[in-house]
């Protein structure tokens, strides 16, 4: 199950906010989309799922398993969403419906795609809550989002996205809004879940250090265009574009040894030398 984005262009109003972006995510790959704010990374992700905001128009090609999904009617895309492709968003405070219990929201994913009963959905919700290491899963499912911490809410969001075992997960800055002390936990959760299930991952962030812990390949965006791409280890060692160099500078400010790849960087088994 692979995702291929070709010559994607997104216009809002008169402006091209994403211009001729192409990248591919083979089965099981973990690709990062990195860039500063406003580089178009989130919009690219939203375009894949057909969730662009009002007034945005996308053109180009997005192939999922060889099937063109850009421009499909919403009903068709809805079938893919959650089932084939899941998404986790940046802001846990607003991503969850405030007037529904957490368990019901997790269970909804299952009910939509597998048509199970309410009771079964709740049972699954407890199981998923456990999977994302939420404390006291049996009781937490009857809580409301405002009763949970930010990190817990994000775990709920992950549970919702993965409940139907999608083949691809798109994570849009999932840890950026979280407290630094919790980020590592959520990141490692994501990484292990993805690896265990053999899912493909598209990870969006502006922090190269974070990316290095999760992805093997990266696509660097600036002003809606791809300025560099390649293996993360290469980007860390020898970035060619100015943008990547700046990102590296920002990232290494928090790292211990700027020359060596930081601990926890994923080593791609088929490491190629350029």
């Amino acid at each position: 199950m692979s995702l291929v984005v070709k010559n994607l262009r997104i216009e809002i109003g008169e402006r091209d906010v994403v211009d001729d972006v192409s990248f591919s995510v083979p089965e099981g790959a973990r690709v990062g989309l990195i860039g500063e704010s406003g580089s178009g990374k989130s919009l690219t992700a939203l375009a894949v799922l057909g969730l662009l905001p009002d007034g945005a128009r996308a053109s180009g090609s997005i192939l999922w398993n060889g099937r063109e999904i850009l421009g499909l009617p919403d009903r068709e895309l809805a079938r893919l969403r959650g089932d084939d492709i899941g998404m986790v968003f940046q802001e846990p405070r607003t991503a969850l419906n405030p007037v529904r219990t957490v368990g019901r929201q997790i269970g909804e994913s299952v009910r939509i795609h597998e048509g199970v009963s309410r009771r079964e959905a709740l049972r699954r919700a407890v199981a998923e809550a456990e999977r994302v290491a939420l404390p006291d899963p049996e009781r937490i499912v009857s809580r409301y989002p405002h009763q949970l911490s930010g990190g817990q809410r994000q775990r709920v969001a992950i549970a919702m996205a993965l409940a139907c075992r999608p083949r691809l997960l798109i994570a849009d800055e999932p840890t950026t809004a979280l407290d630094v002390t919790i980020q590592a936990g959520v990141l490692s959760l994501l990484r292990s879940l993805v690896q265990d299930a053999g899912m493909s991952l598209v990870f969006i962030t502006h922090d190269l250090a974070v990316l290095a812990q999760v992805a093997t390949h990266a696509v660097v965006l600036e002003h809606g265009r791809v300025v560099e791409e390649g293996a993360v280890t290469d980007l860390l060692r020898a970035p060619t574009s100015v943008v990547t160099q700046a990102l590296l500078r920002d990232a290494t400010a928090t790292l211990w040894h700027p020359e060596l790849p930081p601990r926890g960087v994923v080593r791609d088994e088929t490491e190629e030398t350029p």
Partner: protein, 316 residues
């Protein structure tokens, strides 16, 4: 929740108290003499003075106020200076016209405002959606009185389907005629109020459309429309509850004017007549009853909102 209810109840009582003082004080500051008005121009000064004393107008203000409050607590809203009838009985009688009118108007307003508000937000990029929005804006700007007049011209003068004025003398003993008499008035108030509600619902729905959790719901596998309907609307409903109180107040106010236009023997028309006649005790009682009703509605709406929104309930 209990604490909140008690606090709001306290505010309600306080509001009533403040209202009573305001009403009482402002109506006592009267240029001209009520007793004189009643006694007429032929009366001698002595007769007027006797009348004043018997009406209790000679007592100090504070005593008069306390007398009034005492009566209120016993359920006595006062008696008419002119006809001697009790305010409570008059209100009960006239409410038989005003209450159904208000209920019908409210229903019309809900039907006009909520579904069309949502539709106009959903169809905001299509001509129909924009047209609805523009129409609602225009209707909300129409003075209720004029709307009534235009409806009378169309449905009563030109088409002759409905009576232009009046309420059957048999009252509700002739339900069909009574209903027909209230139809145009209710439509008038309902459509104008409904237009305002429509604008609010539209704006709330548009907001819901942009909410992150609606997008999350779509990301789980709902179509965008269903995500909005299923996740966004309940939250829209929540904010609509907050406006309902204002809507009801608006309907009552509209009823006062509309009853005048359609010569309906309701509370509103009675109030207007009494104010013009300077029937102080009656006006006092009626205004207090009306204000009390508005405050009560606000109280109930606040409680309902609090009950329905899980963020505000003390869950843990």
């Amino acid at each position: 929740m209990i604490r909140y209810t008690l606090t709001r109840l306290g505010l309600l009582v306080l509001g009533l108290a403040v209202a009573s003082v305001l009403i009482f004080v402002s109506l006592r500051v009267l240029p001209g003499d009520v007793a004189q008005l009643i006694a007429g121009t032929e009366a001698t000064p002595e007769q007027v003075a006797t009348l004043r004393t018997s009406l209790g107008l000679e007592a100090p203000l504070a005593t008069q106020y306390l007398d009034w409050i005492g009566g209120l607590l016993r359920g006595d809203l006062g008696t008419s200076l002119i006809t001697g009838s009790s305010v409570v009985s008059e209100l009960a009688d006239k409410a038989r016209v005003t209450a159904p009118l208000a209920a019908m108007s409210f229903t019309v307003a809900l039907i006009v405002g909520i579904p069309f508000g949502v539709l106009s937000a959903l169809g905001r990029r299509r001509a129909a959606g924009t047209a609805l929005s523009v129409a609602a804006q225009a209707l909300a700007a129409v003075p209720v009185v004029w709307a009534g007049m235009m409806l009378v011209v169309v449905f009563a003068v030109w088409l002759g389907w409905l009576p232009p004025q009046g309420f059957p003398r048999a009252g509700w003993n002739d339900p069909a005629a009574a209903f027909r008499a209230l139809l145009l008035p209710a439509l008038t108030i309902g459509v104008v109020e409904g237009a305002m509600l429509l604008r609010f619902v539209r704006s709330a729905t548009l907001q819901a459309l942009g909410q992150d959790y609606v997008r999350t719901a779509a990301a789980k596998g709902l179509t965008r429309t269903r995500a909005l309907l299923s996740h966004g609307l309940p939250n829209v409903g929540l904010s609509v509850i907050t406006v309902l109180g204002v809507q009801i107040a608006g309907i009552i106010v509209g009823a006062v004017v509309i009853e005048q236009l359609f010569t309906l023997p309701g509370v509103g028309r009675m109030l207007v007549t009494d104010v013009a006649a300077r029937d102080l005790p009656k006006v006092q009682g009626e205004l207090l009853a009306l204000t009390g009703f508005v405050l009560l509605v606000g109280f109930v709406v606040d409680l309902a909102h609090r009950l329905v929104d899980p963020r505000q309930r003390e869950a843990s």
